[in-house]
């Protein structure tokens, strides 16, 4: 570590390339914490999106029509508006109006921190996508399979639970993986509402040193690294859930 720090400090003095985050201990600590927060946002966002998505997918199969319309309206709204605009709407719109992130009289922490706003924003936005992906997965299960289940005496929900959903989930996996990647990348918009994730910290560092080009590279490599890990995990899950002969 010491050697790396020395190398980059030397590099700055010799060439002017200022990777300050790699030799300034205070900045390094802040940046690592930023990466940690980004990962945390991604994980919570992912969880939220999966839960909301699955719930919406389920509600769309319910026979009560107004409920289906409501879910469709939600999905269309969140799929067709920019994520950043949604986040601003939640934070400065609803958040300000209902005083959701106001500190109490004696400094009690607010009901929702900016961090939680981002998790909610990511969950709502990507939950809409997950719902669509799962629906597509269910529709891709061959009709003959469903008929076979029916012939074997499965009821509507039993067939869904035992036959259709397991297949639909596997069919959806690549698309879900893609969606997951989107969530990881979208954590970067948290910097707009002052959540100190990687991009926010990088921004803070480059306003201090004006090493925009260097920090931009560091930021991109950081996200690339995070994506690499997530892609590996998705691939592992795909292999783990693999059904021999399916999809060939």
């Amino acid at each position: 570590m010491e050697l790396i720090a020395q190398f980059f400090e030397e590099l700055y003095h010799r060439t002017g390339w200022n990777f300050s985050v790699l030799y300034n201990a205070w900045e390094a600590k802040k940046y690592v914490n930023g990466i940690y927060i980004a990962l945390e946002l991604a994980l919570w966002g992912l969880l939220g999106a999966m839960i909301i998505g699955a719930l919406c997918c389920f509600l769309r199969l319910v026979r009560f029509a107004p409920l289906r319309w409501l879910v469709t309206a939600y999905i269309e709204f969140f799929r067709n508006t920019p994520g950043l605009a949604q986040l601003y709407f939640l934070f400065f719109g609803l958040g300000s109006y209902f005083q959701l992130s106001t500190y109490g009289q004696n400094g009690e922490p607010p009901f929702l921190s900016p961090f939680k706003f981002v998790v909610i924003g990511l969950s709502l936005q990507y939950g809409a996508f997950v719902a669509e992906i799962l629906r597509a997965g269910i529709e891709a299960v061959p009709k003959t399979t469903k008929e076979a289940a029916e012939a074997l005496g499965y009821g509507r929900w039993a067939a869904l639970y035992h036959i259709v959903m397991p297949l639909a989930f596997r069919i959806s996996l690549p698309a879900l993986g893609n969606n997951m990647a989107q969530i990881v990348k979208s954590t970067a918009m948290a910097y707009a509402i002052a959540v100190p994730e990687a991009l926010y910290v990088a921004h803070e560092i480059w306003t201090e040193h004006f090493n925009v080009i260097e920090m931009m590279n560091v930021v991109l490599l950081t996200y690339l690294g995070m994506m690499w890990i997530f892609t590996l995990i998705v691939r592992l899950i795909e292999r783990w859930l693999h059904v021999p002969g399916m999809g060939r």
């Binding site: 992130s101 500190y103 400094g107 607010p110 900016p114 002052a194 201090e208 040193h209 004006f210 925009v212």
Partner: protein, 295 residues
């Protein structure tokens, strides 16, 4: 003083060796590939176009702001107008002025890419910035950090805000010292409006900004927007001078601007303009006036 391009490069040949070395060194320091760079490239451009372009924050009342008709006004605009006149005399042409709206996060990039000839805004001089842009000395103004809170909050020293959330602008030079030296949790947004809204919403106990900016905000508050708020009277833990900044490698422009700021201090122009717009000039301004009056 000024030469046109052709004559300029010819003159370069006749420069003394030391001047040449300085010019080369300046080009190296700037790290830019500028094969035809000579001492007055930007000043030449200003003359050719009869226009000086200035990177500034146009949403920074009452330093620079746009009135209802879209005209730029403010203390810094008054100074810019004066500078335009004096610079016009240097190049022997009447100049127009064009403001390029910038944010703290992009103004240095804009200057580097030649989108403007200079940065003229509330730009605090820091060692890091000095490596990237050429500040014009003497600096023209100064400001310290100021805290604005809701009425009734009592803060006696900077230690009282340790561990507390304070709203700020992304790119403000007070963020890092407050965070590092006073353990403050900085909650930084992209625009001042978002910072203000966040203080109103109670997302932070105070907002930090330049004291001169906060002062004037309260002085010009005709509509009572800030009637429930007040400025905490804390001693400035440092006073940051504000400088005009140009690209490295244009000694002519730098000299011309340096003469102008010197004249501003000597004649009391800065202090008068500051007072006109409701500022209490910083100690720095009076120190500078003393310094340049004597000479």
């Amino acid at each position: 003083m000024h030469q046109n391009c052709l004559k300029g490069s010819y003159m370069m040949l006749n420069y003394s060796k030391s001047t040449g070395i300085v010019a080369i060194a300046a080009t190296l320091v700037s790290g830019l590939a500028a094969p035809s760079a000579h001492a007055g490239e930007v000043l030449d451009k200003i003359k050719d176009r009869a226009r000086v372009t200035v990177c500034t924050n146009v949403n920074n009342p009452p330093n620079v702001f746009l009135d209802s008709s879209g005209t730029a006004k403010g203390m810094q605009v008054d100074l810019m107008e004066d500078m335009k006149g004096q610079l016009g005399k240097v190049v022997g042409k009447d100049l127009a002025i064009e403001l390029v709206p910038t944010l703290p996060a992009n103004r240095v990039e804009f200057l580097d890419r030649g989108k403007c000839d200079m940065i003229f805004t509330s730009l605090t001089v820091t060692p890091e910035r000095q490596k990237l842009i050429q500040f014009v000395e003497p600096y023209y103004y100064a400001a310290g950090p100021g805290l604005q809170t809701k009425k009734g909050v009592e803060l006696k020293s900077w230690d009282d805000v340790r561990g507390k959330p304070i709203c700020s602008n992304q790119g403000s030079s007070w963020n890092v010292p407050l965070e590092r030296d006073y353990g403050v949790t900085i909650v930084a947004f992209q625009t001042q409006q978002e910072v203000d809204q966040s203080l109103r919403d109670g997302r932070c106990i105070a907002l930090v900004s330049d004291d001169s900016y906060l002062q004037a905000r309260f002085l010009t508050d005709k509509d009572g927007v800030w009637k429930d708020f007040e400025i905490q009277k804390l001693p400035a833990f440092s006073e940051g001078p504000w400088g005009l900044a140009v690209k490295f490698g244009d000694a002519d422009l730098q000299k011309a601007l340096s003469d102008i700021t010197t004249e501003w201090h000597a004649s009391g122009k800065v202090i008068d303009t500051a007072k006109k717009w409701g500022f209490t000039p910083p100690k720095f301004s009076y120190d500078m006036q003393d310094k340049y009056k004597k000479q």
